[in-house]
């Protein structure tokens, strides 16, 4: 019973991280039509900035610590905006592959900046809440539950944003037809900038929240980014709902794999992806033709 519960809750936890990462990727792809490798940089910056803020905060007020991931998310969002305005906007008319290369270039640069500023060794902090939930034989850290809650909250917030508010409608309109949206008097440029800011901020938040769980080291963002690629390729590019479902599937598969075949956990995820993509090349929720 505990085993089943552990596999389940670990799967959900893993899915939450994957969703936090891939949601931003999907939103950015939906509007900008760019696969943003820079997401790895945003995750990493979120993690390290969160570490920096925690170091600055007074240790006597544990409640204040929650400002760290939120502050990191805001800062990373603004840095994302800087990148979009400064570099990425010159790439909108170019081949996809070159857009990818540019966003990969920024990952390399951020990697080295982090190594320069924080050093090449790994960092870590204790959980912002170190209490455990105990129920019979089951013990689970509260902090991990908060991350799961954050992912669920994000999923709800995105649904609300895209379906119930005008901002969301404008974003959806832009992703469907840029020219038409522009003709309606909406500045597509601003929508793109805002979307990039928003997507980067989510990645920054994910990084900040994950700091106490995994710690950080230069290059940590890339590992999660590659798994998020698997998620979004399997879900179909641009679909946030798809990312949620796929993240849950992959989280569960991964959790089962870790439990029973620890050396092959990744292989299972990739075989699953290969199977789904060979049956439906556009992904589970995708619409593109290939």
């Amino acid at each position: 019973m505990e085993l089943v519960f552990n596999i389940f809750i670990n799967g959900i936890f893993y899915s939450s991280i994957l969703f936090l990462m891939s949601a931003g990727l999907q939103i950015i792809f939906g509007v900008l039509n760019i696969i943003n490798f820079g997401h790895a940089a945003a995750y990493m910056l979120g993690l390290y900035i969160c570490y920096g803020i925690i170091g600055l905060l007074p240790a006597d007020y544990p409640a204040l610590l929650w400002m760290a991931p939120i502050g990191a998310a805001i800062l990373v969002g603004l840095l994302g905006l800087l990148f979009e305005r400064g570099i990425l906007r010159f790439m909108y008319k170019r081949d996809h592959v070159f857009q990818i290369l540019v966003t990969f270039g920024i990952v390399l640069m951020v990697d080295d900046i982090i190594r320069f500023y924080w050093g090449g060794y790994s960092i870590g902090v204790p959980p912002l809440i170190d209490s455990m939930i105990e129920y019979g034989n089951i013990i689970y850290p509260v902090y991990n539950l908060i991350i799961i809650g954050a992912a669920a909250g994000l999923a709800f917030a995105l649904w609300f944003l895209f379906r119930k508010t005008d901002i969301g409608r404008v974003i959806r309109a832009t992703s469907l037809d840029e020219e038409m949206t522009e003709a309606m008097g909406i500045s597509v440029m601003r929508v793109k900038a805002f979307t990039f800011l928003f997507g980067s901020a989510i990645a920054g938040l994910a990084g900040g929240l994950m700091l106490p769980v995994t710690g950080g080291w230069p290059g940590v963002g890339m590992e999660y980014l590659i798994l998020s690629f698997v998620v979004i390729a399997m879900a179909g590019l641009g679909s946030v709902n798809g990312a949620l479902v796929t993240a849950l599937i992959i989280g569960m598969v991964n959790s089962l794999g870790v439990q029973y075949f620890p050396k092959l956990e990744l292989a299972f995820v990739f075989i699953l992806m290969a199977l789904i993509l060979s049956i439906k090349p556009s992904g589970l929720f995708g619409t593109h033709k290939s």
């Binding site: 592959v97 290369l101 640069m109 390729a233 290939s290």
Partner: protein, 313 residues
């Protein structure tokens, strides 16, 4: 214009042939390394420049070739290159066939992302089965034999690499100019029309992918005796993107662009890596190149030469 590029090709080739007599040991090492990477870059360009697919996973073929040498040496005691090269080609072509079956159904970014994912999967497998592969420490490789004779590092290995570089480049040149090569270029330019002609687009992409993987496998086989180590990092995205960068740096629109790119990249890397900020410069270089010099070094040189000719005439 045509005479100019032909002339520079001949001069470049003569320089490369004579280089070990004038250059120091380290420069010879770098040149050997650059030539092997040039084989890989040419085969990546077979996909990027000619088929229109950007692979972010060609490191996996480099790694496959490398581990064929390392594991055959470690477990079967095979050190002769005349056996290892066909084996490496077979192994990487087989891997390319399997991976290609999934990847070549996709185009554009979808293709890039899938190749990247498969490359990382290979890395994970080779890093995790450490009993067999030595994990992240990798496997040491000894001096290889060719027809029973050991090929020492330095000048002998340089000429071996040169011979294989010329052979591979010639083979790829012929492939690009053959009807098959023209067909993949047609697939790149207008996939729909090729389909209307009754040709199976996916089949051509798959074959191009397998050929490209096999050539990269040769580069992998020859790379490890030079560095003395087969490491799983060869499979990783950073290696794959390094090769792509060589192609872009040299210019993916011309056949020999990737060779120039590999030379420039390897020498820049050896100068900059000891500095603290190597990755930073690399990233900045990628961004500047893509924005300001999309044709690469050769593309830029071609523009400049054309302007010069116009002025003089």
């Amino acid at each position: 214009m045509k005479h100019l590029s032909g002339l520079s090709l001949v001069i470049g080739f003569i320089l490369i042939c004579l280089a070990p007599f004038v250059a120091g040991d380290f420069t010879v090492y770098l040149l050997t390394y650059a030539m092997l990477m040039a084989i890989a870059a040419l085969s990546v360009n077979l996909l990027l420049g000619y088929t229109g697919l950007m692979s972010f996973g060609h490191g996996m073929f480099l790694g496959t070739g490398a581990y064929v040498v390392a594991l055959m040496g470690k477990y079967a005691g095979v050190h002769s290159l005349e056996l290892l090269i066909p084996l490496g080609v077979l192994a990487s072509a087989a891997l390319a066939a399997i991976v290609g079956l999934f990847c070549t159904r996709q185009i554009d970014i979808y293709f890039s992302m899938l190749t990247l994912a498969f490359g990382e999967l290979m890395y994970a497998l080779f890093a995790k089965f450490y009993n067999l592969t030595g994990g992240t420490d990798g496997v040491r490789v000894t001096t290889p034999l060719l027809f029973g004779q050991p090929v020492d590092s330095g000048m002998p290995y340089y000429y071996l690499a040169l011979i294989f570089f010329v052979l591979c480049a010639a083979a790829m040149w012929i492939i690009c100019k053959s009807p098959f090569g023209l067909t993949i270029q047609a697939v790149r330019d207008n996939e729909g029309r090729v389909g209307y002609l009754g040709l199976l687009v996916m089949k051509y992409r798959l074959i191009a992918f397998i050929i490209s993987g096999a050539f990269t496998g040769i580069a992998g086989v020859l790379l490890v005796p030079l560095t003395g180590h087969a490491v799983p990092e060869l499979f990783q995205t950073i290696t794959s993107i390094g090769i792509v960068l060589m192609v872009i740096l040299g210019g993916h629109r011309s056949f020999f662009g990737p060779v120039v790119g590999a030379l420039v990249f390897v020498f820049l890397q050896s100068k900059l890596q000891p500095l603290f900020f190597w990755q930073f410069f690399l990233g900045a270089a990628i961004i500047c190149l893509v924005i300001f010099l999309p044709g690469g070094v050769l593309g830029g040189f071609g523009l400049w030469a054309r302007k010069l000719i116009k002025k003089s005439s």
